[in-house]
């Protein structure tokens, strides 16, 4: 293969940064992170062109917030039909923007909205899509992507010759673009949705009550509760109510996000004593999520590798466990405290409460 020729062709990329707006017409933090990565990609491919594509009910605040990014074109599909996430309308909007931009590379945040719609658009464009990318940069002159396989158990670096190539980038992997707002000219694409694309109607976002909300993606700390919280303690009894109070108090005081091992979540289905605020949404690990937080504190977790995968993107890790050989701990955490988590957490809560009062 003539790689020099191939590289010559590939560096003339049209890079489309694709984002959807929030209900108020602005861009979310993740979109700025992906714009930052897209700008780096463009800077590394000197002949390339940057195009911005926006989809949403309103686009002007978003366009103005990134007005100084130097895009050659800013395209938008907007209106009430595109205000809420829906596969049919989102896919139609993204397809229209990709075609109008004649994009060879499309970089977009890996949000639930894009995750739902964008792979289908890749099919329509006869393109290729890679999701959950953690890095998309230029290596040896070629756009090169890094992503995980087998539920975060192995990492691969790859490139593709096929175009268009659509990449969904994960949150928390790139610094946000820090440019200044500015005005820009926006080409609004007109798109009439057929009735067949309106068979699905958005109803609402269902969120837990504020005090019940235990998943906080932007939190500094991930608190991982393991099955040990529901097991018999030194006195031969289970202490579910106490465990529930300790964990919820800690979450309230620390504003941490709550994760749980699969075994603890599964107990509720098996009719065992459970912590009622835990659902599968809290589950981390191979069949759960792999959240990104700076710090992680694991308590009462036992575990094999699949559970520990939940730690993969946590930078600083500590664990409290009575078992010094816990799978979450040795070789996986920075510090393991061999202690009773019930005792430690009660005292930790008291300390955090005292600090809060000061």
């Amino acid at each position: 293969m003539d790689y020099d020729r191939l590289r010559e062709l590939l560096i003339m990329e049209t890079i489309l940064f694709l984002a959807h707006t929030e209900p108020d017409g602005t861009l979310a933090k993740q979109a700025f992170e992906v714009l930052g990565a897209t700008m780096s990609l463009k800077d590394s491919l000197p002949e390339s062109i940057l195009v911005v594509g926006l989809v949403g009910g309103e686009f002007r605040p978003a366009a103005e917030s990134i007005g100084s990014c130097g895009a050659a074109r800013v395209l938008a599909v907007a209106g009430p039909d595109f205000a809420q996430p829906r596969y049919a309308s989102d896919a139609a909007a993204v397809e229209a923007i990709c075609r109008a931009a004649n994009a060879s590379l499309v970089v977009a945040p890996s949000t639930s909205r894009w995750f739902r719609a964008v792979p289908g658009v890749a099919y329509r464009l006869n393109g290729r899509v890679d999701t959950h990318a953690t890095d998309f940069s230029v290596c040896d002159g070629f756009p090169t992507l890094t992503r995980w396989y087998y539920r975060q158990r192995m990492e691969a670096t790859l490139r593709r010759n096929h175009r268009p190539w659509i990449v969904l980038l994960e949150a928390g992997c790139n610094p946000a673009w820090q440019g200044t707002p500015g005005s820009c000219e926006v080409e609004v694409l007109s798109l009439d949705l057929p009735e067949s694309s309106k068979r699905t109607q958005f109803i609402e976002i269902h969120a837990p009550q504020a005090e019940e909300q235990t998943i906080r993606p932007d939190a500094e700390l991930l608190f991982v509760a393991g099955a040990g919280w529901t097991k018999k303690q030194a006195d031969g009894k289970v202490h579910i109510a106490e465990a529930e109070k300790l964990i919820l108090d800690f979450l309230k005081l620390s504003q941490a996000s709550l994760g749980s091992s699969k075994s603890l979540v599964d107990m509720s289905e098996e009719g065992q004593a459970v912590l009622p605020f835990l659902t599968h949404m809290n589950q981390i690990g191979q069949t759960g999520s792999t959240p990104r937080h700076r710090k992680g504190l694991s308590t009462c977790c036992h575990g094999e590798e699949p559970h520990v995968v939940g730690w993969r993107f946590i930078s600083e890790r500590r664990a409290v466990n009575l078992d010094p050989n816990c799978g979450w701990a040795r070789g996986k955490t920075d510090v393991l405290y061999v202690a009773d988590a019930f005792e430690v957490m009660a005292k930790l809560n008291a300390l955090l409460a005292a600090r809060k009062e000061q």
């Binding site: 829906r86 995750f115 290729r128 790859l158 600083e316 930790l348």
Partner: protein, 269 residues
């Protein structure tokens, strides 16, 4: 409730407790001893299957298919267990099921198999699957299947599906921050990529297993061979990340001291 034709797409993945090691082959990356590794039905596809069976039970006359692309021997091994869970009819495709295959190709093979199902009625069709696999984990196969079948009502990260009195589908999809998006679709056809759903894993039922196996064995015998290989991705490196940290074990510290250290650590920027 009108009967549905529910097609669940799902394949086999290595047992999550296995240690995986990548190797290079002329066809691209693969797993060391891939065919020797114990396998299970992909966890999210399994959730989709249980939800589908639950729905089929509530809508008498419904038909449930499991369309699966994987090495025939592995499928047979996994079906010995899965067949005992819920009643379904297997449509097997004999081909690779590894994580480094191209989702577009897999989608094409599965969509063609679905389109070829006898007596398929689009107005009753629900295509289920896991929202991601535990192998490739891309979450892009179902969307491509839907596109190939001309279905534009698609949902991903589904945790709940309710059939309303007018036949419409109320769908709850996982979105960011532990929330759900609630949508209503007028009815089939639709594609639903399931997250964990709400149902527990059904207990093994040998009677269901025996009834299923009567159809599963012939389905495996006549499994069409599918060749994947047009993956244009060039893998530069596939590696298992360095996992070992230098763990400091703190054994004899009083809980007051531990709490103080932790409080300091948590509150330090």
């Amino acid at each position: 409730m009108h009967p549905f034709q529910i097609v669940v797409c799902g394949s086999v993945v290595p047992d999550p407790l296995q240690t995986l090691e990548p190797i290079s082959t002329p066809a691209g990356p693969a797993l060391k001893n891939e065919l020797m590794l114990p396998a299970i039905l992909d966890p999210w596809a399994a959730h989709a299957l249980y939800e589908a069976a639950h729905l089929a039970k509530k809508a008498p006359g419904s038909k449930l298919y499991l369309v699966s692309l994987g090495p025939k021997a592995k499928l047979q091994q996994v079906m010995m267990t899965v067949a005992q869970k819920v009643p379904f009819e297997l449509v097997a495709l004999d081909g690779p099921a590894g994580g480094f295959t191209e989702s577009f190709e897999v989608a094409a093979a599965l969509a063609d198999a679905i389109a070829a199902l006898p007596g398929l009625e689009r107005s009753r069709l629900l295509v289920f699957g896991g929202w991601e696999s535990a192998s490739r984990g891309a979450g892009s196969t179902l969307q491509c299947i839907g596109e190939r079948l001309g279905i534009v009502d698609q949902f991903q990260g589904v945790d709940d599906l309710r059939i309303q009195e007018d036949g419409s589908l109320l769908v709850m999809e996982r979105i960011e921050g532990g929330r759900h998006q609630v949508s209503v679709c007028m009815g089939p056809p639709a594609v639903l990529g399931w997250a964990t759903g709400n149902l527990p894993e059904p207990p093994n039922n040998p009677q269901i297993g025996m009834a299923n196996m009567r159809l599963i064995m012939p389905a495996l015998q006549k499994a069409r061979a599918v060749k994947l290989g047009a993956n244009d991705a060039v893998f530069l490196q596939v590696s298992v990340p360095r996992q070992l940290r230098d763990t400091k074990i703190v054994k004899d510290l009083a809980s007051d001291e531990i709490a103080r250290e932790l409080a300091e650590w948590i509150t330090t920027a």
